[in-house]
Amino acid sequence: MTEEQKSAARGTIGVALAGGALGLTAYGVYRQVRGQKAEEGHSPVASVEHGEGNKFIRLVTINKPAAELYRYWHDFTNLPRFMHHLESVEILGEGRSHWKAKAPLGQSVEWDATIINDVENELIAWQSEEGAQIANAGSVRFTPAPAGRGTEVKVTISYAPPAGQIGVAIAKTLGEEPSRQVADDLRRFKQLMETGELPTNDRQPQGSSPLLTPTGLLAEATSEPK
């Protein structure tokens, strides 16, 4: 199966994601990241109403030291390698970056983001800047797991449902399971960090290449013992 087929099979398309994650209630994440320091009631992203965003938390344990994981993630240009709905991230300097994510119907969504917290080998948090089409924020925290079991990686992504015509289109396709994509992105991060590659069954030999419909795979899948 190709990547496209897989995502179709899953019935979700993601725009965004994890880092690319669409947006967020920047405020929620902002508060979480900054702890008490955030000023109550004052959202750093004016266009996102407090309490209206979606928020996902996903965790994975990776058999590598926190420092190594932190270093890789900290270079945001690496993110599209495992966040498959990101097209690119460009570093603008001074903690700022420019993100480009695939959107439905061949479109793309772009925004600028700023790192709002950065603790070496422990934590990176970012959020979209004012004026982003889809306000979003994310953080990743690296905590050593007990007894040499590697590092627990916790990703929090939030975004505000986008407005406008493209927003509606995105929301529709996102509707299904955007948190699924965050989970997939995180799994790919683990695979890449632990094995150096992304396991795949792409370009495999198969008889009479079957056409996948969005639900075809699982329909076939769950078909009885016939």
Binding site: R149, K190, E194, G207, S208
Partner: protein, 389 residues
Amino acid sequence: MRALCWYGKDDVRVDTVPDPEIVNPRDAIVKITSTAICGSDLHLYDGYIPTMQKGDVLGHEFMGEIVETGRGVTNLKKGERVVVPFTISCGNCFFCQKELWSLCDNSNPNAWMVEKLYGASPSGLFGYSHMMGGYAGGQAEYVRVPFADVGPIKIPDGLADEQVLFLSDILPTAYQAAENGDIQPGDTVAIWGGGPVGQLTIKCAYLLGAERVIAIDQVPERLAMARNQGKAETIDFSQEDVIDRLKELTGGRGPDVCIDAVGLEAHGMAPDAILDRAKAALFLATDRPHALREAIQACRKGGVVSIPGVYGGLLDKVPFGAAFNKGLTFKMGQTHVQRYLQPLLEKIQGGELDAASIITHRLSLDEAPDAYKTFKARKDGCVKVVLKP
């Protein structure tokens, strides 16, 4: 190339399909010289395993010659002969490093499918459904082997394909089944299923110190093989009550170790087995655990039930109360093949283990569809089929 493809229940065909190619740095391409049909393939053939797609290439027991390697594979060279484990494992994750190879965290690209069912995903497998990775299998002329730098074992000159082919799956499976039984001196080991796995488990149980081995099946040729090759006592479940007979053979105690080498498609004469078939058809339960129920019921107090037989879904009427109140230990799972390759290769070389003797049918890959029929029907004394591409 030519490859055996799955098209549905009782429908496999030899098709011309594209050759596999190197996709990832740690891949290798193997030109297959020998490949076998496994009892696990029958679960696919019978439509018991979900997430199969028409055209999927089957086969997970194979060996051959390296013809190409990715740039990350430095330990294998073109022309070297290898046996490939059916479990695909990265070697880097927590589980691989604990030698729990069949539980590899990273080798299943479709892990999300299994997570929905099981909560977490085991390793990817060759030719064994999309939820187990969707990897094309080795009943073919060529196969792509991911993580080839950690899986395949090199075969020294002087050993024939047939002597070592079963290192890919059923020999380590039989060995692990016996090892999981924690066999103590004086122990009686009862084995349900006289298929290839059961036959080899008899040999491994003796190797690990069993005093007596009792094999249970209903196919006359398989019972005969268990007696003649395996030196086991046998029970024909179509003729005798298995639990009564086991009691009789063990002074009323029951076997110390009970091994279910049948899995989810157990046949039975008893009402529970007939009910299972009806329920599976109606989706009230997915597996038919007749052999497992007997194993639990027969096992002596404090004994071990070891389960190499494959289960996929929900089991109905498993006597858990009996298991609990008799203080049984359960061990199960797909085999951690890589763990056993070297030690078992040495046992083959040293003449301690002869796995090839269970082969009854040698055919070409083109004859695979007929071979599946024969193996499924257990016709012509068929126990194990080896195919030559």
